[in-house]
Symmetry: C2
Amino acid sequence: MANSKSSTKPNSEGNNSREIVLLRWGHRPQRDVRLTSHVALVSRAFGAAGFILADAIDEHLKATVEKVTKSWGGNFRFEMGTSWKSFVSEWKSKGGVVVHLTIYGENIQTSDVLSRIRGSGKNVLLLVGSQKVPPEFYSAEVSDFNLAVGNQPHSECAAVAVFLDRFFEGKELSKGFENARIRVVPQVRGKQIKVKHGF
Amino acid sequence: MANSKSSTKPNSEGNNSREIVLLRWGHRPQRDVRLTSHVALVSRAFGAAGFILADAIDEHLKATVEKVTKSWGGNFRFEMGTSWKSFVSEWKSKGGVVVHLTIYGENIQTSDVLSRIRGSGKNVLLLVGSQKVPPEFYSAEVSDFNLAVGNQPHSECAAVAVFLDRFFEGKELSKGFENARIRVVPQVRGKQIKVKHGF
């Protein structure tokens, strides 16, 4: 293991091993591939357990994400083509909550929405749209919470990152990833990486 | 003014009116336009004062950012075509510091780099690459700090958002924007916006 000092279980500290999975809706292959790959990599880097590309197939995206996981470690789950309706319904039947990230929702800074999500004690499915989402995303049948990372237009990458950073209280940025081939050794100046051979 | 209760000066609370400006290097028009526009909108939404597109011209990007500022308010500065070298050198001559966001730098979570930046008491230029950056970006001649928002690959949108969220301690997400035509009224369910007429 490349970084034996760090926790090997994602986010096992301080959040009782609560699992967060991201579901991306409305992805348009080709047009959205770079943005969606950023959203997926952000999810991984900030401590989510997996990423679901709903109702779409994008082999290029899959290859990008799996290549990063293979090199940089961890057990990040990538899935595509899944129906969002079935996934949400299955998630809820297993006792998880659904948090829809939207500019129109309760503000993460000015409301108590984050503490209510934490207080639920449940696994969290983060629902992240790309194009305009169906109105039912806002309803109680789909989303337990509609959360806004600020009520200004910006970027789903940013919304996912800040939600996870706050949810995990920053600890996600210090954890190691199991079976990493490559890891960065942080430097004041320049670049240093360690590459593990023998894979 | 659409939101008269909030501070009208960006980030005037708690950070002594320190100004943060973002400089984007390595932008390729067309190929990068969506990602760079996300980076610019994230900068605005998370409290930066302006965005410099260095050594490139992209009218489509300019139109996107300026349209958002016109509708959603504030005095966000957008500039393009500026030489990064001249801008950095001028920024430093005015007493500002330069923070280079890079996966190879000091980790924002595990090091004291953020408190040293705060402790400098100076305005901050955030240097954000797109492609591989020139080696001199890491040098003391250019960057006072090399900062990593985690040492894993993810997204410059996320790095900018989390840096600003932590720098401003979250307060940026509650502030209003001057002269906004549109603003969101946060909701538990559904969407509500207020549109100001008469512009």
